[in-house]
Subunit: 141 residues, 4 copies
């Protein structure tokens, strides 16, 4: 199964709705496909201009390593030089903190990732998880 643009749009809309419900700062949300390539992105008014790169970095590391943002953060806390090296390998595009969310199909295969940024990393991840669930897609935060 591949993610469709409609699924990506549903996830972004639901993540943004959850952010408003939680009273978060303006969010930026990206959805990448199973190859780590951008399907859809939205940056809410008032977010800082560089948010695309942060959102993409959270999601890109998740897809490329097959590890959620939380799992990447745990590794970074244990072994910072490893995540720094991984970042070199992936051209500096990995941001190893919560808000990078692995998306899985019913069989558990990774079909892409979301990247959410704008509030605290934990709030970003919570909003994104709600967004994935709204599209009926299992998510590892």
């Amino acid at each position: 199964m591949s993610l469709t643009l409609d699924q990506a749009r549903t996830m972004i809309a639901a993540t943004r709705a959850k952010g408003r419900e939680m009273g978060l700062k303006p969010l930026s949300v990206v959805v990448l496909d199973a190859g780590g390539h951008v399907l859809a992105f939205e940056r809410e008014d008032g977010a800082s201009p560089g948010r695309f790169g942060i959102a993409q970095g959270k999601a890109y590391g998740a897809v490329m390593l097959g590890m959620s943002g939380s799992a990447q953060m745990a590794r970074a806390e244990q072994q910072a030089y490893f995540m720094a090296a991984v970042n070199g390998v992936y051209g500096g595009q990995v941001v190893p903190v919560p808000g990078g969310i692995l998306l899985r199909d019913a069989a558990g295969a990774v079909i892409g990732a979301m990247g959410v940024t704008g509030d605290t990393s934990d709030n970003d991840a919570e909003a994104g998880k709600a967004g994935a669930e709204a599209a009926g897609i299992a998510a590892d935060i």
Copy 2:
């Protein structure tokens, strides 16, 4: 005046609708702000995975140089080494063909750019122009 996310979403939806009306291949559409930073992006199902970069490259050159894709193409045809050099300056992010569309406010100031890719460059530009007009925004193709 700054572009809002709602305006960007309107332009993307209208560009995609125009593409379907014209019978084009799957389109990918990005909207950048006046600083060249991504506001919103959508890639239609069936498009090749690298379309974000092409869309962004069309729009980024337009914002940074203040020249539409058609104007960039004319310069590239006259002086290929100049546009190659400009691309080096901007980190390889400039794609100097139609489909890079400058967006202007009522006073004529550049407020951002769209990048459209997927069909021929001229068709990409025509769909994008319709998209901008649907949001009431003047566009140089």
Copy 3:
């Protein structure tokens, strides 16, 4: 509101004047617009040749993240790998220490940033804050 070149020149002149008043080492001062692009820069005689990059890096991170140099430094001290990752995302252009100063309009919206370098980070920030105030622009250091 967009920063004008005259405002940028006023901020640079006043920052330099404050530096002389404080007896600081030669300063280098950049002003970026709301998209992180250079509006104006001056490097005082006697400063080391690489100061443009440091000044730009202080200001660029501030604009792109919407965080002052002090706020970036606090995050770097808590979570060094996060700021290292952000730097990868932004092409190595982020210097997360004081002297990166967010500039805001009367409504609180970010309209650009200054980057000041040459003395201690705290002195750089103090001179820059005086420079912003001389132009009537609110500054987060």
Copy 4:
């Protein structure tokens, strides 16, 4: 002799004044030292945001190669692949067209370069030459 910041400021002010006198579009002007490092820069209101890079690229190639923009353009017209290769060597920072102006001391030694951009390349060069002359500095366009 090294260029001073005051000389750089004089050259920029006089280049801008010449541009207004000639009725040119908004100009962006950089002055680099003999090592190719930025001394001062100004971008006039209404110029596109990416002008720093173009100005720097014109001036950087001039200093690094010891060739004015016109001389670089002649070489590019004869041997485009050579200038493309040079650009690779210098990290994509060379824009080989008029507006890159070598600055010389009384003995003929290169002491830096100006980069001027915003109007046609020939007009950029003419304004910059006037700017250098206003500071009493010999210039190769």
